[in-house]
């Protein structure tokens, strides 16, 4: 029984690590923090492995755990749950070409929009599973996704804020100062 749990867990790592790591990286804006978050996520997933009733929802369930882990890792001021609030974080801090405007735009929209877009673009996750992962109603997923796409388009087309530009030019850390 223990061995089969372990095999199932290892299969989760094989199947979902890439998705979770990319999502965590996009949501936190930091590769190092994403590594911590994903490790934390799998540790918690192992502890709660018996709570997953529907194997088909494993990815959504793991994302849910990871999302909570992000809440624990990020300072409270960066966990904006208000859709109107904009995050002024820059895109991933290293190795990203300047031409990747969409990536930079993702870093500028509200976290609540960012997470729904991550699930949509990174995994093409079905609405029901996104709802499970974000712990919201399926109808809310659709409306939030529509607004998130609009926000991303706006963030890509609009020029960066002067403060963000200054931060980028002076190589200031990507995370917002508390």
């Amino acid at each position: 029984m223990f061995a089969s749990s372990e095999a199932r867990y290892n299969q989760w790592v094989r199947d979902h690590y890439r998705f979770l790591f990319r999502s965590a990286w996009a949501l936190t804006g930091s590769r190092a923090m994403a590594e911590d978050v994903v490790q934390d996520c799998f540790t918690n997933a192992w502890k709660c492995r018996d709570q997953l009733r529907e194997p088909a929802l494993a990815r959504a369930w793991l994302f849910q755990i990871m999302r909570r882990s992000i809440f624990r890792h990020l300072p409270p001021c960066q966990i904006a749950l208000d859709e109107d609030e904009e995050d002024t974080r820059a895109a991933p801090e290293s190795g990203i070409d300047d031409r990747l405007d969409v990536v930079r735009g993702l870093g500028r929209i509200a976290p609540i929009h960012r997470e729904v877009l991550v699930l949509h673009y990174f995994d093409d996750m079905p609405t029901a599973q996104i709802a499970e992962a974000l712990e919201i109603a399926p109808g809310t997923v659709l409306s939030r996704l529509a607004r998130a796409r609009q926000a991303l388009k706006a963030a890509v087309t609009s020029p960066p804020a002067p403060r963000e530009e200054a931060e980028r030019s002076s190589n200031v850390t990507a995370l917002k100062r508390v």
């Binding site: 372990e6 790592v13 996704l145 796409r149």
Partner: protein, 191 residues
């Protein structure tokens, strides 16, 4: 994706850029769980059970009397209600190590030859005063049996050396007191 808006060029571009930006290498091996076989709870439980079963089996085997004694107990059980004399007294007494001409100890109930584990044995059931019914077995030829005692299937047993040539005798009784009295009658008294 009927429930969502149709994909536009922007969406395709977004997917492509995200794919480029968030590139992931291999999976860190530290994330996988490799519990050593001996550390697994199931294996530990199985080992503990095996140990317990082994200990129980060892205790049982140590407690169990020798095969000849078990055969004698079985024979005594099946012939418990049998009465009579089916062998001449001197022959029986000789094999019991009591001398050819002596009297049969106690009040004899059954005297007969029998076969235990394919060996010829002499069976004497007698009632000893201040003791009770006791059954004595002597083998011909004498067998190798260590002295010992115990209980098995509700009866007491004891292996003693005969008075004559010191051959092993098996004493069986339902009462411990009967064995004590039988020991004084049949067993060789240590020098």
């Amino acid at each position: 994706m009927k429930d969502r808006q149709p994909e536009e060029e922007f969406d395709l571009r977004a997917r492509a850029e995200f794919s480029l930006a968030y590139d992931v290498d291999g999976i860190p091996t530290r994330l996988f769980r490799r519990t050593p076989v001996l550390a697994r709870r199931g294996v530990q439980l199985a080992a503990a059970m095996l140990l317990a079963v082994g200990a129980a089996a060892g205790t049982f085997l140590a407690w169990r009397p020798p095969e000849l004694v078990r055969g004698a107990i079985e024979d005594e059980y099946y012939e418990r209600t049998l009465r009579g004399s089916f062998i001449d007294t001197p022959t029986l007494l000789t094999h019991m190590g009591l001398g050819e001409h002596g009297p049969v100890p106690g009040h004899a109930q059954l005297m007969r030859p029998c076969e235990i584990d394919h060996r010829l044995a002499y069976h004497l059931t007698t009632f000893l005063d201040k003791g009770g019914l006791v059954t004595v077995f002597a083998f011909d030829p004498p067998v190798a049996l260590e002295e010992g005692s115990g209980t098995w299937r509700g009866v007491y047993w004891q292996v003693v050396r005969s008075r004559g040539d010191g051959r092993p005798l098996i004493l069986i009784s339902e009462k411990k007191q009967a064995l004590v009295v039988a020991h004084t009658v049949f067993a060789r008294i240590p020098a």
